[in-house]
């Protein structure tokens, strides 16, 4: 697809590259490096004491546990959702398709207070859940609800184009060879969609781990119980504990970068696979 320029024929190379790298360094790279430089001034013992203190470890467990659970829920429903949008016609489909991106467009604080209103004891869903003895808002379950909301579009929008590009011939061949519909979907369609689904899962997970605005209103923020890691960074900052905040931030950044690398790897793999199929 991309036709590369063998020599630099067009003007503006040094200007645009220079501006890009300069701006990137000033806004992103230098400030980000502050986290690591600040962490580097600590001794290993100091770092370890903060990074593995019980309250921090409890927050990792909640943040990562709830993020994985939310991404799994999103993977299941996102796939069903993408399938319905690509394969079927139904009334209101264009509206539904457009609104899938709502979590991208809706400010997280708005999502946070709205979800709290829905799932609190007097809310539309919270009322019914509490009648069944389940408390959602102000518990770890509330964190999960918020992260599911935030992550859904990642799976749908990653899987949808792959389903759209899928050649019907593959399924026709499979059907003509005697496979029933479920066998065709299971052995022909799903393997092609799997990398996209995995990428969507990873994107939803990565977003959920760092999410703040939509979670803090519904979580209740009880230390050791429903306190997410990003909130702990803010708590430390408000106590002027810059070292503590930076240490936790460094741990989160390393994990985020590892996730980013694996997602890039996944996407490269996806591109290679779709290239081979096309």
């Amino acid at each position: 697809m991309s036709r590369k320029v063998s020599r630099r024929i067009l003007p503006g190379f040094s200007l645009t590259l220079g501006c890009s790298i300069g701006y990137l360094s000033l806004i992103v790279l230098i400030p980000l490096s502050a986290v690591f430089l600040k962490t580097a001034t600590l001794s290993w013992d100091q770092f370890w004491a903060v990074a593995t203190s019980p309250r921090v470890v409890a927050s990792y467990k909640l943040s990562f546990g709830a993020s994985i659970a939310a991404a799994l829920i999103n993977a299941v429903f996102g796939l069903i959702f993408a399938w319905a949008l690509v394969r079927y016609t139904f009334p209101g489909k264009r509206l539904v398709d457009a609104l899938v991106d709502l979590p991208f467009a809706l400010p997280t604080a708005v999502a946070g207070i709205a979800l709290t209103a829905v799932y609190a004891g007097n809310g539309w869903i919270g009322r019914w859940a509490e009648a069944l003895g389940i408390k959602i808002a102000f518990t770890p379950l509330g964190v999960l609800v918020a992260l599911v909301f935030i992550g859904l579009p990642f799976v749908v929008r990653t899987v949808q184009p792959v389903l759209e590009d899928l050649d019907t011939e593959l399924e026709e061949v499979s059907a003509s060879l005697g496979a029933n519909r479920w066998q065709t979907v299971r052995h022909v369609v799903l393997p092609v969609v799997a990398p996209a689904l995995l990428t969507g899962f990873a994107l939803a997970f990565a977003r959920a781990v760092g999410e703040y605005g939509s979670v803090i209103f519904i979580a209740g923020n009880i230390p050791m119980v429903s306190e997410i890691t990003p909130l702990l960074i803010i708590t430390k900052l408000e106590q002027y504990d810059y070292t503590g905040a930076t240490t936790i931030a460094a741990v989160m950044l390393v994990i985020s970068f590892a996730l980013l690398l694996s997602i890039n790897g996944l996407q490269a793999w996806m591109a290679r696979r779709s290239g081979r199929l096309a």
């Binding site: 991309s2 503006g12 489909k93 467009a105 977003r207």
Partner: protein, 300 residues
């Protein structure tokens, strides 16, 4: 990564074709089961929270709603949000176009690495996006003492809010344009150059018309995030009413003061912004699809 799944995509709706083909359709009950599950999930997970915003905003009546929106603190939050968004979007627009030009039109070492670095802000938690500026410009930060000596305030002031917003919206325009311009190649620009156009003429007369939908798309997404950013801005703002409060922060303050109707009233403005964003986004997709179809027909 927020925009990773939000790239402009050009496909059309071919659902009817799948449903007409015996080899690619499911039994009717399976079809409606899948649609039912999808719509049920959609209704509970997405629609219900959205509707709640407006219901809660109007719960105490129109008069309370109007009063909440015309409150001086609300108006000042609206002004600060607009001001921040204008600066962040324009700077990231210029950067995005420059970066896409460098990456799509030229070959150089480290190009892939540069593309990854541009995406970096998406993988950083909003809270950390704010923290990094505190570490650089805060009272105990690198430049803190120097700034204090010259009486310049960045953290807990408007410049910090603008910087944090620029950071979180940094990749939107660039990542929309890079794949688009790479796919379009450089032949048209080279032809313009042979015909004697200078760099600016090539860009404004040849490249810009080709990338306009991607550009609008990127600006719209960038603007939505700039106006709605909460976590990063919350760290650097200091929450001074009437001075360093953006709309999302104002929502939080009102909510924590149990002024629920007022909080949801301000939130409803942001929800409207989100809906407008989605409408513009869908409109751009339709336009871009039309353009793509015209190009295909011309090619035939």
């Amino acid at each position: 990564m927020a925009g990773a799944a939000a790239l402009l995509h050009w496909g059309g709706d071919r659902a009817a074709r799948y449903e007409a083909n015996a080899a690619t359709r499911e039994p009717v009950w399976v079809k409606w089961l899948i649609i039912g599950v999808a719509l049920g999930f959609f209704g509970v997970a997405l629609l219900l929270p959205l509707v709640t915003v407006f219901v809660e905003a109007l719960r105490k009546g129109l008069e309370t709603y109007r009063a909440a929106l015309t409150d001086p603190d609300t108006l000042s939050a609206v002004r600060l949000t607009l001001f921040t968004a204008v600066i962040a979007v324009s700077l990231n627009l210029v950067f995005g176009v420059a970066a896409a030009w460098a990456i799509a039109k030229f070959d150089f070492r480290g190009k892939y690495f540069l593309t990854t670095l541009i995406d970096l802000p998406f993988s950083v938690s909003p809270v950390i996006s704010g923290l990094i500026y505190v570490l650089v410009f805060g009272a105990q930060g690198w430049l803190g003492p120097w700034l204090a000596a010259h009486d310049i305030r960045i953290i807990f002031a408007v410049p910090g809010i603008v910087l944090a917003t620029i950071f979180v919206t940094f990749p939107f325009v660039a990542r929309e344009l890079i794949p688009l311009m790479q796919a379009q190649g450089s032949e048209e620009e080279e032809a313009a150059m042979v015909l004697g156009a200078n760099g600016w003429q090539i860009f404004s007369h040849v490249t810009l018309p080709n990338i306009k939908w991607g550009l609008i798309y990127g600006i719209v997404l960038c603007n939505a995030r700039a106006m709605g950013e909460f976590g990063a801005v919350s760290v650097v703002s200091g929450h001074i009413r009437g001075e360093t409060n953006t709309m999302p922060l104002h929502v939080e303050i009102l909510y924590n003061e149990y002024q629920f109707a007022a909080a949801f009233a301000v939130a409803s403005l942001l929800a409207l912004l989100a809906l407008v964003t989605l409408v513009v986004k869908s409109w751009v997709e339709v336009q871009a699809r039309g353009t793509a179809r015209e190009i295909q027909q011309e090619a035939l």
